[in-house]
Symmetry: C2
Subunit: 458 residues, 2 copies
């Protein structure tokens, strides 16, 4: 028969079993961490009616959409988890309780140009808190706590959450009489880390933006306010009283910083950073980005912010919210590239491989059944192969323990447990073996999926 | 602004938060149960190249496919998890260890006619064991153990796994000289429970199949062999020695039944049933169906079997396997319809809602932070509402506990814990409250997602 060459589309991540175990462990920790903060799990369809999904979209986004017809229906694959959330909240408004807190980990689709490290199908892991009409500022202080706990649980240590407030930025530009241009200015300022202050000044005063030298200097002075959170907040006090929006933003930022300690966020994990703007017009208050200190070139690994109106394309209800998103597929790819995946994480599909050495498999099956009752992931090796081949199979899977069961062991009511890491072997009863395995696994089971390489310094 | 009416496509399940919690609990238990047997998690893309995905498909399947173009690419959404597995194993053959055991829980797409209880996007939850060249029969005996443990973990009690062997059927039809027609005959016999023996006899002897009356009677006699597993197996012995394939099938069935006890499958959960054929030509050995005893009309809730060649469309390698699939979305729908979902399962997004009664939220935030450290899912209620509204919010979410924190409590270094089920309230330290909550939750956290209605009898 003619064969079809098997292949996976480029831009689609497909992992081998050991890597899939690591990925799944990360996703599981994200779910646990999000759930600890009272976020409810949500799942929405991957396919939506195009007119619903694209009610807001346009430009670059629209071009990337996977859109097609099936029968009479014009359908699209979701390109993020925010638009489906907006639809969900507008559609089920009467049945939800507000504030509505949900997390969602799911695949989204963007037909980006194929490129190393760029994915067309990727997981996003989002949380959002949606208020009905109003939403208290404390929610904006809680988000960095979720980020901090989540990455800490994953095993990342050298990261920092950078926070700003869009009202401070908008108020500041209003002071300079530059409200109309603030969007364009922020896009230029966003490039500061890449192109430096001189180039930024040049772009601000060129014929397109046409700022005066004085205005450009004011902006550069403003965004160069750095230092400890207290230093930055004090410097901002000096701008106070000149514009309402600025003052409101500063109040909010002060509140966020004030509550962070109670939320358990260590000082060094958090910085007020006036250069963080988040390109999207969508955000109206606190904005967040998260950086790996040793890999700033990767960009933000968790971003988000406060918005005033989640679902304005679907409903007249005012639904303010705050949320963040982790691009999980890209993060996993980057961690793998940078050698940040912890090799201590169990990647074997089983904790123990039972190797029967007798023709009648009943005793081996009964042994495996008992181990499973004890909560041990157990594989029964069933194939008729040479001993060496069986051991090589165990090795390749990375199974931490094997249990040998021959006539001798059966006669004694015992089995030989071999610790694959140490090579030690012991003749034990089923219960002793189960206990030994469970205690040996405790460490591996709690190992975080990320471990920063030793080399990484300050 | 003109609003776009929000809607979800028909045939796409979108759950409210409480139901989503139940669904997720089921999926989590499936993952745990599958993992206990040493199956590795797998995730493959939802989109595949059409020529790869449809290498084998045809007829009814092809019509249902979501197929479209993006740029120059001809793409399709997967319609099951078996074809992607075949592709995966053929593509990554050199990097996998065999037997390769994987589970996959993921969404698949079929453009079926919209109909109550029929879904176009639905989860399948599959396990498969794939051998390289050969695969021992013991794997076929292990599958009912996985099914049994899985449904028992979900809380289902009144179910039965029905097992047959395709070799027995094929061998039997070969004895009658009906090998050419065996596929068509099995399709007719499959209808027995619906149309009865007389109608089956009629269809077997009509002008299309044109069996003699004697042949039809032999078939009806054969499939009417029922009773305990031992009764059926003994009756089958009488056909022995007349055809090689039949004898091989009977040997396999005897082995499967022999090992089931060691695998921990209770007698009443399992029955040899000669009418189970599974329509697909694909299956070559043991076949499985699983029925809810009180709802046979629902059909099989978990089916599968042994096949000789998983990936013949992609590779020359002989890759025999055995697997089963649960249609999770449909199962959930049916359980909901039949009132089988356990109301004791926690459906609140949080275990406790912290209600601050002071202007400064720091103490409430610190309290919530401590509870989260203790592993308690904690929501901090932040909105400025009347007390009654706050309580009503807690009620609607179904939160089992609330913690009130006012000036009095803060002064005493305590908080008031209210058990929402009993209405009891107690003034406790943070640690006492955490302990009380954790012990109270233990039952709810381990509650199985399914509870059979009391009314259901034998």
């Amino acid at each position: 028969m003619a064969k079809q060459k098997p292949r996976t589309l480029s831009g689609f991540m497909e992992l081998l079993p050991a890597d899939q175990m690591k990925f799944d462990r990360m996703a599981e920790l994200l779910r646990q961490s999000y759930a600890l903060y009272g976020f409810a799990p949500l799942d929405t369809p991957i396919i939506e009616a195009s007119e619903v999904l694209l009610a807001k979209a346009g430009g670059e986004t629209e071009k990337q959409i996977y859109r097609f017809h099936k029968g009479d229906s014009d359908l699209s694959l979701r390109f993020d988890l925010t638009v489906p959330l907006a639809k969900y909240v507008a559609l089920h408004y009467a049945e939800l309780s507000f504030p509505f807190r949900r997390f969602q980990i799911g695949k989204v689709y963007r037909g980006e140009r194929a490129q190393r490290g760029r994915f067309r199908e990727f997981y996003q892991a989002d949380i959002d808190v949606i208020g009905d009409g109003k939403l208290d500022i404390v929610n904006e202080a809680e988000i960095p706590a979720v980020i901090c706990r989540t990455f800490t649980a994953l095993g990342l240590e050298r990261f920092q959450i950078r926070v700003n407030n869009r009202k401070i930025l908008s108020g500041f530009y209003a002071m300079l009489g530059l409200s109309d241009k603030s969007g364009d200015i922020m896009r230029v300022v966003d490039k500061l880390p890449k192109i430096g202050p001189d180039k930024v000044r040049e772009l601000l005063t060129d014929e397109v933006l046409a700022l005066t030298g004085e205005q450009a200097d004011e902006i550069l002075k403003f965004i160069s306010i750095t230092g400890s959170n207290q230093t930055v907040l004090s410097a901002l006090e000096e701008y106070k009283g000149r514009h309402e929006l600025f003052d409101a933003g500063l109040d909010e930022l002060n509140t966020v910083v004030k509550y962070l300690g109670s939320f358990g966020v260590p000082q060094d994990k958090f910085a007020v950073d006036l250069t963080i703007a988040r390109g999207l017009d969508y955000y109206t208050g606190t904005v967040y980005e998260t950086f790996m200190l040793d890999h700033p070139e990767i960009g933000s690994i968790c971003s988000g912010g406060r918005y005033d109106n989640l679902a304005e394309y679907y409903t007249d209800k005012q639904l303010p919210g705050v949320g963040i998103s982790i691009g999980l597929t890209r993060l996993f790819y980057v961690l793998q590239e940078q050698n940040y995946l912890n090799s201590a994480v169990t990647t074997a599909p089983a904790d123990v491989l039972v190797l029967p050495m007798t023709e009648d498999l009943s005793p081996a099956i009964a042994l495996a059944t008992g181990l499973r009752e004890a909560g041990i992931r157990t594989q029964l090796y069933t194939e008729q192969k040479k001993f060496k081949q069986k051991m090589s199979y165990a090795d390749k899977l990375g199974v931490p323990y094997i249990l040998l069961l021959g006539e001798d062991e059966i006669t004694q009511g015992k089995a030989s447990l071999k610790d694959m890491a140490t090579g030690e072997q012991a003749l034990l009863t089923a219960q002793e073996a189960a206990e030994r395995i469970l205690s040996g696994l405790a460490t591996a089971r709690s190992a975080p999926p990320i471990r920063e390489p030793e080399a990484s310094g300050p």
